[in-house]
Symmetry: C2
Subunit: 129 residues, 2 copies
């Protein structure tokens, strides 16, 4: 690659990462303002954004890219805080379906709405790269 | 918002976050395989992607969205590991310009090339949202 092209490729990748850092940092602030950690926000979003609004721990392990025990703990804490509810699967007793409680739904909706502008901004910027 | 539209908005935002988590997680693996932490990778990328391939600590504080002392420490460790070099500004003695050493350039280039496919994948996916 010519030096100029190389410079441009690095500039472009740096612009992407700058946008991602900004998004994450705003997400953290907004989640906190809505009574959530940014991990809890992601947990609630992944549950709510799943088919039928319910998810399993193994689905969340994949989405969150965290270890099984970290996710189990995260789910347990969110349940204790009244943000999510568990319901055993009707077809497989070993599987538990997780969904949002009204309070979880309320906090997610608040953070989600506030983050809307940042999300659009990020999508627009990334699409222009 | 109608329930259906709301479901779709959450699904779309979850897809974005899933893509971002995947990207971060691949970045971590690839950085490590090239002898860098993912923070060091970002540090080198932000320096290399800056105008003239040099950056200042305050510019990096903005880009990395980390505190001044965290960035100072990160820079110091990278310097000790021979990844970056400092040069005092010719116009302002209080300002130090940071740039990559040949070794820093080599490791960044390795990780950067390996991450190329993931970056394209991310940009494509986000652009389709």
């Amino acid at each position: 690659m010519a030096r100029n092209e190389e410079d441009e490729a690095y500039r472009c990748a740096a612009a992407l990462r700058r946008a991602l850092r900004r998004f994450e940092s705003r997400c953290e602030e907004i989640a906190r303002a809505n009574g959530l950690t940014s991990r809890q926000y992601l947990l609630l979003l992944f549950i709510r954004g799943s088919q039928g609004g319910t998810a399993t721990v193994s689905g969340l392990v994949h989405d969150l890219r965290l270890g099984q025990s970290t996710v189990t703990e995260l789910v347990q804490r969110a349940e204790e805080q009244g943000l999510i509810v568990r319901e055993p699967s009707r077809t497989d007793g070993r599987v538990v379906h997780l969904s949002l409680s009204p309070e979880g739904e309320r906090r997610l909706a608040g953070a989600f709405a506030e983050l809307g502008e940042e999300r659009s901004h990020l999508i627009e910027l990334v699409s222009s790269l």
